[in-house]
Each structure stands twice: as structure tokens, then as C-alpha cells.
């Protein structure tokens, strides 16, 4: 073996990773080659000298910290543990409520479908809106009635006439409004009666009587005139 080939084996020679034959060849070579012998001696010396660097023990802190980290990791792992996918989607106890026979299962499915459709029909947005409109209409009607009654109870004749107009907007079936109107008429009939001493008013009242088309109104005004 040449010097280069011998030197390539020095690393293996130091760690003992050489078979017996190669080791013997190296030893034979260095007996005759001073250069290789010197290099191997230097390498071996420093390799051996590395033994003086002692192996140390770390402080107990390393062990304490490691086990603290391990415990913490295990706790986090337990917390994150999730049930297997199959189990998560299990129907569990609900299984007992489902009938075994397909006919019953179909019936239940059909019933649930009907319930679902009915629920959808009643809960649809238009349904709710319709209810809201009815409620709104009732509130407007109630407001009109209050306004009419309020105006009829005023002393001013013009406001009372306004009340009569408001009352006409109410539905005819609204007996309560009609009753309010009649009550006001009975109480305040003197308000619309012309004074006997006021000749202009008497004259205007008579003119108005002659212009009325309805006989009922004519009778009423005549009654008021002589009241």
C-alpha cells in the first residue's frame, strides 16, 4: 500500500474500525515510512489526549425542568384529546327512539316532512307580515276613533265638525264610535243652535234649512230651531 492509501485509513485506525489484515498492513508500513509513522503518532497522541476532557453531570435542574415540561405536555395532550370521528357522529341513545320496522320509519319520516312543511308555511316571512298589517290596521282604526271622540268633545264647533268627519271614516259597524257621536250631539246640541237674539244667525240657519236635500236633516234642523 502507498502512503496516501495508508493515510486514508488513519481515521479508522484511531477508532478501531479496521479489520485485522488492514491494521497489520498499516503497522508494517509505518515501520519503514517515517513520515506516515510521525503523522500517525501525532494523530494518536491528540486522539488519546482528548480523554482528558472529563464527562460531566448536568445539574438536577435539567431533570426537574424536563419532567415539568413532560407533565405539562401530557396535560395539554389529555385536554386536546377528541373522540374518534365515528363516535362523534354516533346517534347514541337516540337510536332507541327509532322504530326497527321500515314502515314505521317511513311514517315518522312522512310525519316529520308534513310538520316541517307546515312550520315552513307558518313561519314564512309573508305570514308574519300579514299579521303585522292587520295589527297596524287595528292601531290606525283605534287612533282614528280616539281622534274623532277627542274632537267631538271639544267646545269649538269647527273641531266638533272635524270630529264628525273623522267619525265618517270609521267603519259603520263601529258602534262605539257611533255612540260617542250621538252622545256628543245630545250634550252639545245647544252649541249648534242659533241664538234667538242673533238675527243674522237665524237668517243663515233658515237658508241652510231650505238648501238641505235630506228630509231627516231638515226635521233635525227644525227641531233645533225651536229648541
Amino acid at each position: 500500500m502507498k502512503c496516501n492509501q495508508i493515510k486514508e485509513k488513519f481515521s479508522d485506525f484511531l477508532t478501531g474500525e479496521l479489520d485485522k489484515n488492514v491494521r497489520e498492513k498499516i503497522q508494517e508500513h509505518i515501520t519503514v515510512c517515517s513520515s506516515c509513522r510521525e503523522e500517525l503518532e501525532n494523530l494518536s497522541a491528540i486522539w488519546t489526549k482528548l480523554e482528558v476532557l472529563p464527562e460531566e453531570q448536568p445539574s438536577d435542574k435539567v431533570r426537574t425542568r424536563f419532567y415539568a415540561v413532560l407533565d405539562q405536555y401530557k396535560q395539554n395532550q389529555d385536554r386536546k384529546t377528541v373522540r374518534p370521528r365515528k363516535e362523534r357522529f354516533s346517534i347514541g341513545w337516540f337510536r332507541h327512539w327509532i322504530p326497527a320496522r321500515p314502515a314505521f320509519q317511513f311514517s315518522i319520516a312522512a310525519l316529520l316532512l308534513v310538520v316541517g312543511l307546515a312550520g315552513g308555511y307558518f313561519l314564512r316571512p309573508g305570514w308574519q307580515r300579514k299579521g303585522e298589517i292587520v295589527q297596524l290596521r287595528q292601531e290606525v282604526h283605534q287612533l282614528s276613533r280616539i281622534t274623532a271622540v277627542s274632537l267631538l268633545q271639544q267646545e269649538s264647533l269647527s273641531e266638533q265638525m272635524g270630529g264628525i268627519r273623522w267619525s265618517s271614516r270609521l267603519s259603520q259597524e263601529n258602534r262605539a264610535s257611533l255612540a260617542d257621536f250621538l252622545r256628543t250631539l245630545n250634550l252639545d246640541i245647544s252649541a249648534i243652535s242659533p241664538s234667538r237674539n242673533n238675527s243674522i244667525a237665524q237668517s243663515e240657519f233658515m237658508q241652510s234649512l231650505s238648501e238641505q236635500a235630506s228630509p231627516v236633516v231638515e226635521i233635525a234642523l227644525t227641531f233645533v230651531k225651536h229648541f
Binding site: 493515510k7 486514508e8 474500525e17 448536568p58 401530557k74
Partner: protein
């Protein structure tokens, strides 16, 4: 415990039995601490790095593949941890100046032993080596890794590792000779 046991234990850790890591810790943490101590020369830093390695093992346990020896995987994590540490602390004192600068006030048995001038020179000489040579020398000399395993760890050919070891020892001898004033070796 042989390597098969280490691999099996790590597979169990990987499968979720993290308590098994305690066995691997008890078996390897002292040697790992000395690996870092010889790389850095600092005890406190070495302890922190050991801690960091085992945290990373927990973190990346699911990526462990039993194809390679556990020891190779362990030291690949250790090397990465050390490199990350160097990146964070690149402004620190050069390694050859750091060697055995004691951070602890209480002298350890090793500190008493290192009174020997040889230990000081050797420590400084080791610290002057380029990182890769220092790593390969420590792994082959102290950590008991075969050249094949170091080659796997470094991702290179076995022949490359042998050349690297050869050059590392030669360079270490040269530096040591200079430090000792040419009187030792």
C-alpha cells in the same frame, strides 16, 4: 438498551405515549449535555440546549420515522438546536474564549479536574476548530457514533467523514501545539 429499544420507545412516543420519553431522557441526556458542553464550553447553555432538544422531540415526535437509528435523529435535532442557538447569540464571545468560563460559583468535580493545563489548552483548541470539524470530532470521539451514522447525520459519504475526522485531528493537534508553546503532545 440497544438501538432497537430506543427506536421502539421513540415509536411509542410518536404514537402518543409521551411518558416513554422519560426513559430515553434518562438514557441520553447526560451524553447529550456533554456533547453541547464540548461544543460550547458553557454549562448553563448546554443545559438549556438539552432542555430544548427534548422539547423539540416532543414537538416533532409525530414526524419520527424508525428507518434511521434513534441516535442519528437525536443528534440531528441537537445539531439544529445548536445552530439556532448560535444564530441567536452570534454577538457573544467567540467559542475559544468561552471555553470553561464558569458561570456557576460552586466548583464542580469537573472544574477541579480541569485545573490541569492540558484540559484548558485542549478546550481552547477544540473551540478554535470550525464547527463542522468540531462536531465530527466530538461525535466520533465522545458520542460513540460510527462513521456511517455520522455520514447519515451530515448527509454525506462515509469517506468524506473520514477525511473530515483526519483533518480535524490534525488541526486540533496543531492548535494544541501552538497553545502549549510547543512543549506538549
Amino acid at each position: 438498551m440497544d438501538k432497537t429499544n430506543d427506536n421502539e420507545l421513540m415509536e411509542q412516543v410518536s404514537a402518543g405515549k409521551v411518558e416513554k420519553l422519560a426513559i430515553l431522557f434518562e438514557k441520553h441526556h447526560v451524553r447529550l449535555y456533554n456533547f453541547f458542553l464540548r461544543l460550547t464550553g458553557r454549562r448553563n447553555i448546554s443545559e438549556d440546549l438539552v432542555q430544548e432538544v427534548f422539547i423539540r422531540i416532543l414537538k416533532y415526535s409525530s414526524t419520527y420515522q424508525a428507518r434511521s437509528k434513534f441516535l442519528v435523529w437525536l443528534y440531528s435535532i441537537a445539531r439544529n438546536t445548536h445552530v439556532d442557538h448560535l444564530r441567536k447569540r452570534k454577538d457573544e464571545v467567540p467559542l475559544d474564549k468561552q471555553w470553561y468560563e464558569m458561570e456557576s460559583t460552586e466548583p464542580s468535580p469537573a472544574e477541579k479536574a480541569e485545573k490541569s493545563q492540558e484540559v484548558v489548552w485542549l478546550g481552547h483548541a477544540l473551540g478554535k476548530l470550525p464547527l463542522k470539524k468540531r462536531e465530527v470530532l466530538i461525535l466520533s470521539r465522545y458520542q460513540g457514533l460510527k462513521y456511517k451514522e455520522i455520514a447519515e447525520l451530515f448527509g454525506c459519504q462515509i469517506g468524506t467523514v473520514k477525511v473530515l475526522v483526519h483533518r480535524a485531528i490534525k488541526e486540533l493537534g496543531k492548535v494544541y501545539f501552538e497553545l502549549s508553546g510547543g512543549t506538549a503532545l
